[in-house]
């Protein structure tokens, strides 16, 4: 497994007040020795001031003034820790329904979703909501942590019955890889260290699972897509004829000599060279930021996409997508928005709302078509010029977009193309 060494793994946690999310993150950081002494001192002082007998691990995830005053997470906070096996980025997001947009944001870049279930309560509405978002955002791996096992006497049958409940739920969603771990974040059981209290549990504790879950094949390595960010034309003698198309490979693999096509124009050429800084590359893959040169002088600019001649995305002005609405102002029917997809910005209108999803019951609401904050709807959108799209389920980078309000410049929605 040496090959996984030094990989970066991004995971998301969602949770509300009292389900132990902050304690779990605090425990992971604390037991993996990612907490510094001055941080610990500060937390010990605060714990004492608040009258806690032991160090309140949840305080490690304390955020902004408002959040501390209210004792909740509002915005996504990013936290970092490293073990000898991997570097981790945690997108720590709130779990309450009014912060769906922040959960969606955190989920958009995650490889793994941690779903917390209180062992005393089992699968509840919030579990459904978090799982639905994980499946909607196509997080490849879900780890269900059945927490607070200490409060149910570490009983195996409690754990098993929750596993069955969750299997029932996840079978209705598109979640590929689910694992279950009985933990007590408060006591430290099965978080970093194997639990002495649950000998009946044979699998790895949480941290070991995070360190070893196989993520190399989560990226799409089949469909080569290269959205052009900009063109570099250095004005110096040494590189007089250099014309480099730069960008980050969304998916797939490109090699020098590959026949490529420029979209939407359809011009074809051959890759002459690829480089990162002064290092020449024979092949480059997702998600490397590279510069490419082509054999032929053709018109390529920001917003265009280079693909292989025999494997194209759909070039279209009409898309169907699941759209999550972020703004306090409802979506205006037939109003123009700026749709940002890869490096391509186009004007767009929401032509039709097909249905809304109740994220608590995962039921379709066919009659309610008002797009308000935190709503998730299936919509039809038309753009003024073609987009080069793949289905989100096949390709996170070329299947996703955001909508920007022209008047306020705010990011008002995020979509996943179907």
């Amino acid at each position: 497994m040496k090959i996984d060494k030094n990989q970066l793994l991004r995971f998301t946690t969602a949770g509300s007040v009292d389900d132990g999310k902050s304690t779990l993150i605090g425990r992971l950081l604390y037991d993996s020795k990612s907490i510094f002494e001055d941080q610990l001192d500060a937390i010990e002082k605060t714990s004492k001031r608040k009258g806690h007998e032991t160090v309140d691990l949840a305080l490690f995830t304390d955020g902004l003034k408002d959040e501390r005053e209210q004792g909740i997470t509002i915005d996504v906070a990013y936290r970092y820790f490293t073990t000898p096996k991997r570097k981790f980025i945690i997108a720590d997001t709130p779990g309450h329904i009014q912060y769906t947009r922040n959960m969606v944001t955190g989920a958009s870049t995650a490889n793994v979703a941690l779903i917390l279930i209180d062992a005393r309560k089992g699968v509840i509405e919030q579990t459904k909501r978090h799982s639905y978002i994980a499946s909607l955002l196509q997080i490849s791996h879900v780890i269900v942590c059945v927490n607070k096992m200490d409060l149910v006497d570490y009983k195996e049958d409690v754990f098993n019955s929750i596993v069955h409940q969750y299997e029932d739920l996840s079978s209705k969603m598109m979640i590929k890889d689910v694992r279950y771990i009985p933990i007590s974040a408060l006591e430290g059981d099965n978080v970093v260290h194997r639990s002495e209290n649950m000998k009946w549990y044979q699998n790895a504790p949480l941290l070991h699972t995070l360190e070893t879950v196989h993520i190399s094949s989560d990226n799409n390595m089949i469909d080569a897509r290269f959205p052009v960010q900009t063109v570099l034309r250095p004005q110096n003698d040494e590189h007089r004829d250099y014309r480099g198309y730069v960008g980050r490979i969304s998916s797939g693999i490109f090699r020098v000599g590959d026949k490529i096509k420029v979209l939407p124009s359809g011009f074809t050429s051959t890759i002459k060279s690829m480089n990162i800084h002064d290092k020449q590359l024979e092949e480059a893959f997702s998600e490397m930021s590279v510069a490419m040169t082509l054999e032929d002088e053709i018109d390529v600019s920001r917003g265009d996409m280079l693909v292989k001649v025999n494997n194209s995305p759909e070039v279209t002005q009409d898309i169907t997508a699941m759209l999550c609405w972020f703004n306090e102002e409802n979506a205006r029917p037939r109003a123009k928005y700026i749709l940002k997809h890869t490096t391509n910005d186009q004007k767009a209108i929401i032509k039709e709302v097909l249905y809304k999803v109740d994220v608590n019951t995962i039921k379709r609401l066919e009659d309610d078509k008002e797009l308000s904050m935190n709503d998730i709807c299936k919509v039809k959108i038309r753009t003024t010029a073609p987009l080069m799209v793949d289905e989100y389920i096949q390709n996170r980078n070329t299947g996703s977009f955001v909508l920007i309000d022209e008047a306020t410049n705010e990011t008002v929605g995020a979509g996943m193309i179907m």
Binding site: K65, T109, I215, S216, S217, M221, P234, D278, V402
Partner: protein
């Protein structure tokens, strides 16, 4: 098993290069905020990679408190020459002389928060629409909530409660006249990542980061270098210690640590066994629990 994956440093590098190129494509007049510290030096290295073989298409902007380590200024001037870029300097000293800001008094006086006015003035005077900074989310709890593309209103203020959602690789840099953006390409890097990368790429950094002998005094739990700018305290004992700096800020507030680490390898080893955060030696952050959040809201780096 697939050989097609990036190790974490390559992935962080790729992400930062992508962000630099988005800045170039989306803004008219960006600058790189340059303090002479390792994070801003790292920014210039990543920018060089992002635009090779062109030179970096941005100026560097230094908000100069006047309380510098001489080594930092020398390093800055050499680097600017090497990169062939322009240097813009916003001077806190001038702002004090013009009466734009009032200097703090007393033995703990610093010019740290005075930089806010000078920074915002420099952004306005030079018609900067995007200031690229070396802020990292692991540094401080207010920074943990910061976006890659962070919008500032016409007063230069940050409103943490009303930030734009940032999903996938899609960065929204749209704004009105008079507003600007702060962009943080190394948001996802930790102190350890920075050092590992500096070592891997063999990036030149000021000698202050390496262990050296220096005259220091013990204040606010750290070794503060003696300099002409340091307010004197009577009968205070001056020591000569072998120290190095983990971060570089104003010479009056940057505490050194006792160390023998005089090579990049030794620094990496030392940092990986550190039990205190790097900003723990910065008295600017010790003032209150929300010192950073408060300064950031007003327009700080």
């Amino acid at each position: 098993m697939s050989k097609y994956f990036l190790n974490y440093l390559d992935e962080l590098e790729s992400e930062a290069i992508f962000v630099f190129r988005e800045v170039y494509a989306q803004f008219r007049n960006p600058v790189i905020l340059f303090s002479g510290g390792k994070d801003s030096i790292l920014l210039t290295h990543l920018a060089k990679k992002a635009f090779f073989p062109s030179k970096i298409p941005f100026s560097l902007m230094h908000i100069d408190t006047g309380h510098n380590f001489p080594e930092t200024i020398q390093f800055r001037d050499d680097l600017v020459k090497e990169l062939g870029v322009d240097l813009l300097v916003g001077s806190v000293q001038e702002a004090i002389e013009d009466g734009r800001v009032l200097e703090e008094k007393g033995k703990n006086a610093t010019r740290n928060s005075l930089q806010i006015t000078t920074l915002l003035d420099a952004i306005e005077d030079n018609k900067i629409d995007c200031a690229i900074g070396g802020g990292r989310r692991d540094e401080e709890k207010a920074r943990a909530k910061e976006r890659f593309f962070s919008h500032r209103d016409e007063f230069g203020q940050w409103t943490p409660k009303n930030q734009r959602p940032e999903l996938w690789n899609l960065f929204n840099g749209k704004m009105r006249q008079g507003e600007h953006f702060r962009v943080f390409p190394i948001s996802n890097w930790t102190e350890m990542d920075v050092w590992n990368y500096i070592k891997r790429e063999n990036i030149a950094i000021p000698s202050l980061y390496f262990a050296h002998e220096r005259k220091v005094v013990w204040r606010s739990d750290s070794w503060i270098p003696v300099s002409e700018y340091l307010p004197k305290i009577e009968n205070e004992q001056v020591f000569t210690k072998k120290i190095r700096f983990r971060t570089l800020g104003d010479i009056t507030i940057t505490g050194g640590i006792e160390s023998d680490a005089d090579t990049l390898s030794k620094i990496v080893d030392e940092v990986s066994s550190m039990r205190e955060t790097e900003r723990g030696n910065r008295s600017d952050d010790k003032r209150s629990e929300t010192a950073m959040e408060d300064r950031k809201k007003q327009g700080y780096f």
